[in-house]
Amino acid sequence: MSRLEDELRQALRREEPPAGFAGRVAARAAQQEEREPWWAALVGALSRPPWRWATALAMCLLILAGVTYQRERQRRAEGERAKEQLLLALQITSNKLQMAQEHVLGLRR
């Protein structure tokens, strides 16, 4: 046998995997399958120190904007209702004053 053949046989000889290799492969495969969703990854990223305060501030601003918008909407609705009531009150007043005046002027008997 030539020396080359010996070297090839030596290089391609069957080797047993190190102990626990199969278990580690199976564990890595399972980890890949249970990868966290994108939002969880985002929350994780944003809760890390540099982003934590910025995220909290943004959330506070968002809540504040929501509350302000809701209050403004409510105030506008109340204002419009008060305006309608006022115009109705003035209309009724005017109608009754009109009636009284027509009687006074003798236009209505």
Partner: protein, 181 residues
């Protein structure tokens, strides 16, 4: 104990929310009988709020804005009934009795036997100023009560002629509107 009752009675006699003329409890019963009820209660804060939503461009609203500035309240109750005789003279009297104080004076009193329409207009005077208007219109199927509390310029009523259908009511001391030439 006596002091306690006195405080309670005095508190009951005070105007509610600045409303000078208190509407009687019998009005609640009238509301039940009426086919249509209008109940407007606008205190000074609501009037201010309404004023902010009145447009300066629209003539009616601009006049209303001017009229309500300084007012303490506008209170309206109007009951429309299906049949005649659903309200009694007592319902009207209980309100008129509150207007017997010297500060109130009746400027218009209408009694129409033909149509059965009665109307009274009262003004509250403090010196030369008019500080309130009260109107009660009793028609066969309708009873309307309007109470306006606060300073009202008599000429404002005249100015409102044509606005909201308000006629030119001639009030003693009010300058007459110039006729357009």
């Amino acid at each position: 104990m006596k002091i306690g009752w006195t405080v309670v009675l005095l508190a009951a006699a005070l105007p509610v929310n600045g409303q000078e003329i208190k509407f009687p409890a019998s009005f609640d019963k009238l509301a039940e009988k009426a086919v249509e009820t209008v109940d407007v209660t606008l205190d000074s804060s609501l009037l201010q709020m309404a004023g902010k939503f009145l447009s300066k461009e629209k003539t009616d609203e601009a006049k209303a804005k001017e009229l309500i500035s300084g007012l303490k309240g506008i209170y309206v109750r109007s009951f429309t009934f299906e049949k005649e005789g659903e309200y009694s003279r007592e319902d009207v009297e209980s309100i008129l009795s509150q207007l017997k104080s010297p500060s109130w004076s009746r400027i218009v009193g209408v009694r129409s036997k033909v149509k059965g329409e009665n109307a009274d207009i009262f003004l509250k005077r403090e010196g030369d100023a008019v500080m309130g208007l009260f109107l009660i219109a009793a028609e066969p199927k309708q009873l309307t009560v309007v109470s306006i509390s606060g300073p009202i310029k008599p000429e404002q009523l005249s100015e409102l002629g044509g606005q909201f259908g308000v006629p030119e009511v001639e009030v003693e001391g009010a300058p007459k509107k110039q006729e357009p030439k």
